[in-house]
Amino acid sequence: MQITSILALPLKAVPLMPLVPIELVAGRLFKLLLLAHGDMFERLGTYKSCRFSFAPTDLPLVFLIEPGGPHLTVLRKGDTFTADAGVEAPLVTLLALLEGRCDADALFFSRDLKVIGDMEAMLAMRNALDDCDIDLPRDLARIGGPAAPVVHRLAVEIRSRSLREIR
């Protein structure tokens, strides 16, 4: 899957960017999602204390999420980290999964998605997110500052692409 030009610029710049601002923006988005979906991790039950890694295959980054915190950390690929369970897929796919717009099992069958670690924890996370009705453009609309228009355009772009291409 090719990432279109509107997305390509910020994403292509990622390898060159320092981690701190990336983590800042990602952390901000994470907080907004939590704000919109306070019960997002309720379905995780005992797996709330697990650490999950989300690795976009087309970015040199790994997002570590600890729902118990809740806490988000951004790492570069190659950095050492520990996670109980993890998923790897192109960024658009990961975000489409977040919105429940595609079926994780189908992506696993077609080998477009890879899962590692504790499968029970991973399944709980998938089901928790799937029940959430996350809507990125809506939920992230409240991000302020200079990042706002970029994030909004990103979200809409992901939406249109994921609907068209992830079936």
């Binding site: 379905r43 995780l44 039950g45 797996y47 429940g100 717009r101 595609c102 079926d103 994780a104 099992d105 189908a106 696993f108 069958f109 077609s110 080998r111 890879k114 899962v115 590692i116 499968m119 029970e120 924890a121 991973m122 399944l123 709980a124 996370m125 998938r126 089901n127 928790a128 799937d130 029940d131 959430c132 009705d133 079936r167």
Partner: protein
């Protein structure tokens, strides 16, 4: 014919209703149903809201209590049945005879469906359940041909529901301990088959290896379509041959035969997949709804769309066709 659709979460439930389900089936978030997976299923409050939502849109709700009661802990199943009845479930889907007898005795007005897990595979078995427990409908095992179904349809005194799309049990349902032999957890006792807690994916060179407990279930080369790590769809060595001993990673699709099923006396078509995401539910339910409204000749392209969602990206008519045996 009714379209009976799966829901593992309230979000998936709403998708199924909105996509045109005649009934949605679901279960509580515990061992009382055969999809007792982490993060899946309904609290009592969620079921209440779901039933209200469905009712507003003219859709029924069936509650699956289709595991076998653990000796000494029957109260868990009894209270689940009591709550499902109280919340207004249109039918309870049951497998355990003890639970069927309990429901019949305490809730004589409650509609009772026989789960596929009860393994009622012939007219005498079904009529026993009708006579003993006043079962109104039976979900037939995926071990029968359409000819078998037609014969059953002529002889039984209740409605018939059959699986038409989704996961395919290769073994007679409710009579399989393969999972607990390898992991200690079974569909009958724990509501799980090849449970995630015992699944591991290992990368070996460019191959992905799936393991269940201490057993290797499959090995997929790079890009090869994969399936669930269920024992009956694993690759094994039998004598000198290597291959799928029981069945390939594949899903069931009998939608091409719905006219024959209708003629056989089937009154409800069931979609498997409470463990799948809401996107799957929405796509499959709306597509099958469309298929039912389309003349047989125009159904092929609609169904082809669903193949990509299936295990191994393949579908089969399974035992519904005699040669499968």
């Amino acid at each position: 014919m009714e379209l009976i659709c799966p829901a593992g979460t309230p979000a998936a439930f709403r998708e199924a209703v909105d996509a045109g389900a005649d009934a949605v089936y679901c279960g509580f978030r515990d061992e009382t149903n055969a999809r007792n997976f982490p993060g899946l299923n309904f609290s009592r409050d969620e079921l209440r809201d779901a039933i209200v939502y469905a009712r507003k849109k003219g859709c029924m709700t069936f509650v699956a209590l289709n595991t076998f009661m653990r000796a000494g802990n029957e109260e868990i199943w009894y209270s689940a049945a009591a709550d499902a009845v109280r919340l207004g479930a249109d039918a309870l889907i049951l497998a355990d005879f003890g639970l069927m007898a309990h429901v019949r005795e305490h809730y004589p007005e409650q509609r009772l469906h026989v789960s596929v897990q009860a393994s009622a595979s012939n007219p005498e078995a079904i009529n026993f359940l009708v006579e003993a427990f006043d079962a109104k409908r039976v979900v037939l095992p995926r071990t029968l041909t359409i000819g078998d179904i037609a014969r059953i349809g002529r002889k039984v005194k209740c409605e018939i529901e059959v699986f038409v799309f989704g996961g395919l049990c290769v073994m007679a349902e409710g009579r399989c301990s393969l999972s607990s032999y390898a992991t200690g957890k079974s569909p009958n006792m724990n509501g799980v088959c090849s449970p995630a807690s015992h699944v591991r994916y290992r990368q070996d060179g460019s191959d992905m290896v799936s393991e269940l407990g201490t057993y290797t279930i499959n090995r997929f080369s790079q890009g090869e379509a994969a399936g669930y790590p269920t024992l009956c769809k694993g690759r094994f060595d039998i004598g000198d041959a290597r291959g799928y001993a029981f069945e390939d990673p594949v899903s069931l699709d009998v939608m091409g035969e719905i006219e024959a099923l209708k003629d056989a006396g089937v009154s409800a078509l069931k979609i498997e997949g409470r463990q799948r995401g809401k996107a799957y539910v929405a796509e499959v339910v709306s597509t099958l709804r469309q298929v039912l409204a389309t003349a047989p000749s125009g159904r092929g392209p609609l169904l082809a769309r669903l193949r990509a969602l299936s295990e191994g990206q393949k579908t089969t008519v399974g035992a519904y066709e005699k040669r499968w045996r």
